[in-house]
Symmetry: C5
Subunit: 385 residues, 5 copies
């Protein structure tokens, strides 16, 4: 079949389908190097956002925000006593990223993990800085499901580098506002507290998404027993798939937080550890809910299968009732349709009426039999309507 | 469809349904902050009970109970040699809660965990006080299922703060009575023993609830094999769901007790640890029973599916028996209903009787055939009524 | 429906059913305190056996047996150089149990665990004595399944207290006989060896019970493929239930033995530890067999379901064969039963015979078609008899 | 039913069946003492092989083989500088076994574990000797499945005792030949290397057996999708059962090797540990394969069930196609078989032909409808042949 | 059946089938010694590739490549200050392999593990060298599935030995090119960095293979709900099988990397450990994806089964609808086909028309009934087309 012979409608549908597929692919992808390539190679995706740098420099009594900086403009903020937060938005400008790597003396493998997304959540301790990779999620706008994006942190002495893919809207603005208006504790604390604030925001974004899943599961619960259509089956499968993907995003983060809590690197103060403990609790809660939903979705699949069986049983019972009532009657009618010359009943004045009587008796007897076996009341009749 | 055009009956049903849904939601919820909000923010639910404070101050030879106190009235009881138990019932008064937090120097995150319910059960050691979060359960009054409520403990030096949501009736009254009438060991012991007493009461409330589940499972066992209706399937699903929710409440408490037993904080005396060991045993027993019931419920689902299959088999066998007996007979009757001019049998004197003979022989032969294959005895006939 | 209007037969069946239910309940019960009751309360069940005390006092060269003693008569045997084994049979006499508790200085929680049965198997070290809880099992006499009973040990310096519920026959007589006739090593060893001997007897009682399950599973294996009746399904469910219950009894005992082997309490000599290692091995073997049987029972359920499917397939094939053969023939007969005036075949001399010929050809063709598809040989015909 | 009234054929089948059952029992048995018997009692099975002793005494430059020795003849070989390997074949002679126990000062529980077979694989360190229990397997000669036998090792200072049940042919001959012809490293090494050699042989015997299972699974894979007969289901169940049994034999051996590798007993030289590491690798490989096959067998069961469903679907589709084509036609024929006086079509010249036309059109339409729905091509037609 | 009587086509199919089987066998094989053979025996497979040796000797400023060397030609490169990488391609020349073993003083068991392929991935530390076994994979060229090959490393002081089976094309060429053109860091680093580079290449080869599986699973997802044919079932089974096999290859490598990271052997510098950490991350990612795909494939099997059920339900509903409509009509036609003399309706002028009226009313009523029950809309109609 040549593509050109297809109608525009079909082509549209195909392109939509392939787009959807691409969306689905995302859930289970990891970045991997071309086998045989040199380790530490940055591979910039062609459709990646160009990199912008937003800087916030603050201490207890001041806060400065500068945007659209060049990497070299960051140099003066190294080694000062104020906390400097450099947020790199978009991973599309190789030159910028490399310069940042040089300025902050980042290991080539570290930079590779930040740029070649997506990576698994992880933490790595390079003595004078700590790298941490986590993921944001956001409900998908057009359809069910979610979008995710890697966020990377490099925490050094009195500075913090963050890297966002930039596909989803910038989620760190509320924190920036809080710093500039000197709200809350953030300006009294160091860069480690800032990491906590940002991580906590990331993780809090999982909860509304999970609530979406709760609603989807609940609406399935309500309809699946009464009306097990194959759309529902597809929906259950998709929920399981997406929860599996979600779990893969957050699961390694638990280990990351554990390392952060137990680590002895002096970049994390013991005061901040109390806050990270809170973060850890939230991750556990997210995982806990995901596991519960996965179990529910898996139970729902069983309920669906059983519900199908129920329905089939109803159909079979209906067929059997109809057949059992009429088959003997048709047989009797057939008998008196025979053309034998000697059939005394045919001549009888009451033959026809008597035959009707026998047939009604058989039909009535069958109905009573079925009624007593309970085949006439469908098992879910009350709710079926 | 506009809501107003609906009949009152439908509206009632919808409101019941939405109420039920809300009930169901509770099982798998955790409190989460609005993403981007400042950590440590207390969020008071609009329908939360206003906070009341009940104080019991006791030592070996006296016991005083005061209720409806203001937070400031608690100050004199700090630093005394008597044990002071302040019970805050209801989490609806932000001012009261904040004042309590200030008086007892509670960390903002600690207060947040207590107020923003529900949280996962946990224990956190803040050196001069220990926070512990657990959950009460109570069978749901109107329908199957259960209600749960968070109970938080803050154990300090010779004082104990407890926080109840206040939706369920106060469960600590028997302990208060025991203190005031100086029954049992409680007045001879410190605040740590009081924590044990209260925790033990919480956990003992799980057992009658589990007995309800045992009864529900047993009544399912009895009916499921004979009469696998779809209500039963829904019931199994609900039981699994609720046991899953119950397990999530109590599971982290096991870890909490473990920490309590191994911890070296001097607020827990080694005498009290013997008692907490008892508490730990009860938690293990609850978990053990829940796991067993979950396995039984899951086996029941399989039994249900098989039972459905059995039923369908019966139906099919019935249809097959009826069809197989009458289809050949109807064919024979059809043959002699043909209008061919030359059909010698039709003229025969014994044609009609002979045809009946053949038909009865076929029917009888079929019956014998089915009887020998065992299709005439339904497999569960003995018990089927 | 009022109970009084029921026939005696129905009433009998109901009472049997309720008895059976009570039996079933036992498998998954734990004792629990009324929520709010004082810890350490003994709760004597009304139908508990009155407590009898049987004492055996022995050393390397003598052995004395006294029965029906009062608790106070045990005092002289404390602190002697001989080994004193006090066996309390029946937990129905609160006064006796309390006195024993006082004489041997047992912690209230310890006594509660012993008296308020059933508890989970456990070991607790109270420095000058060790408490150990285990369970006996015995095949149920009247029906399938088993009965269990808690046996508690308190091992002190040169004395051993054992507590039996007394519902099952006393199982310790062989050991008593061996002591009195000075057979085996028991008289040369201390009270720790006696604990080993008694525990070993308890565990050895699991093996014959497991052999019963092996036989039940094997008899199922043989019949389930050929004749999957719903009784078999019930039997599989019961086996799974009972194995689950059995596992719950013995599983925590593994941990108990582990503690016993690693513990450093001087009440257990290092010589005795070699023997306890043997005990531990036997517990592992019991658990190992239970797990294997559980897996087999779960496979059997799948085999059952598949077997049902097989049967249904047979039924459907049979119906299809019969229908497919006769439906076209009946159609042909119907055609020539039509009353059109112009139907040339009807006048033909060979019309009738020719029609028979066509019908036989169709029937034969169908049979050949089905035979080649293999539908005429039931898949389990060879074994079906 | 009296046994004597049965035909010889039936009797033969019964005896075969009972034999088969006995075979099956073996897989999940452990030896257990009669409850209440004295620990350390040897229980000789009546059909056990009488014990023969084969001795090989070797050093770097000599090797002597003596067979059919009495236990006392072993005494001179204790305490020499040569390595003495005493192989006791058959566990039927209580006297011989007891004498061996005395000569080598074996603990009664050790001797019990060796004689009362089968036991779980284990290792026990008695300071001056180490006991190790393992199991040989061999494909069953007459039918599918396998036979197993316990082999026990007691490794002392410069001597090795091995105990074989003797039911399977002696598997140690190749090693004996190698020692006597001074091939390989064995004569330069101590008794620990000999243990390695023998254990390695035992474990290598598992691989050909596993290859049998691979073949059985593969032949199932090929036939199960096309032709899911109930024999296949039985075969899958048996494979799962036997793999479960096989896993139980080898699983504890992993722990045994682990202990051997980590143990500090000087009877195992550090050189030998390199070899035992190799042994451990092989055990892991065996377990690894068993687990993979168990997963495959369990997938196959699902494939089987689905395949059954497929088949049933085919049958149902066939029945539906046939019924749907002929039921309307038969109805039309019935209509014109009615005897109404006023039926204008009957008089028409083209009535009969027209009716045929309508009927053919309906049949053709149905066929087209079914063909477009894909019901006329069985889903597995291409391969079905 | 004699082979010779078969048609060429059948023979071809058989040979293809057997070839395919052989391919399948590979997935779950391990090499095992003939039971009873001497440990350390090299067993050369008859179809193994002859061994070629390719040497690269490099330091920071030079790089030499020599191929087709004899083992003895390697001697001069031992003990030099340059890094020497000897790559042995093909395991078919016993003499060559043995000489290499002698020159590098490899333990016989080490050489056995390298030559007797396939072995499980493992690492073994022989003090002056470390052996490491891993596996390459490559998508199968002719059909779905993959091919794998063992690659063994022996890392010594400033030299590296690698052994490839040689069946798959040499995968190390890109590294050789990089060394010779002095690209990247490789020439500045030692032999440990070279091990990292090669291992990283091996592991990177898993990702494109996994992408193939992702595509296969996705294409299944799309078709399985609409059209559950038995080919799809076979495909799901094969995917599960191959993912299981893939997991078995890579799973032990995780442990290997763990040992490498924690090991204290001085052959691995602490700089290189940072790189191995990267390698470890990639292995975890591969395992993570495999597990996710395994779960998806297992969900797909459930979806397939449910989809089959759905289809059967559709078929049954169709049959029931057709039967229910026509069976009563045929009965009515049968009634008026009876030959009773007294049947007043037959004489009536409007009898025939009235009968048609009744029949149409019944058919219409049935259709309305079915339409309201939703049986006339197939549940997947919208997408079915």
């Amino acid at each position: 079949m040549t593509q050109s012979s297809l109608s525009p409608e079909v082509l549209l549908r195909q392109s939509l389908a392939s787009e959807e597929e691409e969306e689905e692919e995302d859930y289970f992808d990891y970045f991997y190097d071309e086998p045989g390539s040199e380790p530490g190679t940055l591979s910039i995706e062609p459709d990646a956002q160009p990199s912008k740098i937003v800087l916030i420099d603050y201490s207890q009594d001041h806060a400065v925000r500068k945007s659209d900086l060049t990497p070299n403009a960051l140099r003066p903020y190294l080694g000062t006593n104020t906390v400097s937060w450099m947020d790199i938005q978009g991973l599309g400008s190789e030159e910028v990223l490399k310069q940042v790597g040089e300025i902050f003396k980042l290991h080539p493998l570290l930079l590779e993990d930040i740029v070649n997304v997506p990576q698994r959540a992880k933490i790595e301790d390079y003595n004078d800085h700590i790298m941490l990779i986590a993921h944001r999620v956001r409900p998908n706008r057009e359809e069910d499901g979610f979008e995710s994006e890697q966020v990377s942190f490099v925490l050094g002495k009195r500075y913090l580098l963050t890297f966002q893919e930039g596909e989803l809207s910038d989620c760190f603005d509320p924190v920036r506002d809080r710093i500039r208006s000197n709200q809350g504790k953030v300006c009294q604390e160091g860069a480690d507290y800032l990491v906590y604030l940002l991580l906590d925001m990331l993780i809090d974004e999982y909860f509304p998404l999970l609530e979406d899943y709760e609603e989807r599961i609940e609406s399935l619960e309500d309809t699946i027993i009464r009306n097990p259509s194959s759309q529902l089956m597809e929906e259950i499968y998709n929920i399981r798939r997406e929860l599996l993907a979600l779990r893969r995003l957050i699961w390694p983060l638990r280990h990351v937080m554990n390392v952060l809590l137990r680590d002895t690197n002096s970049l994390i103060s013991s005061d901040a550890r109390i806050y990270f403990r809170d973060c850890y609790d939230h991750i556990i809660q997210v995982l806990d809910i995901i596991e519960a939903y996965r179990e529910l979705a898996s139970s729902l699949m069983e309920v669906y299968m059983t519900s199908m069986s129920n329905k089939m049983n109803e159909v079979m019972k209906f067929l059997t009732v109809i057949s059992t009532i009429f088959i003997p009657l048709t047989f009797i009618a057939g008998v008196y349709g025979m053309n034998f010359e000697y059939m005394p009943e045919l001549k009888s004045r009451w033959g026809y009426a008597g035959t009707w009587g026998v047939m009604l008796a058989i039909a009535g007897g069958s109905l009573i039999f079925f009624w007593r076996r309970g085949w006439l009341q469908p098992s879910y009749s009350i709710k079926d309507d």
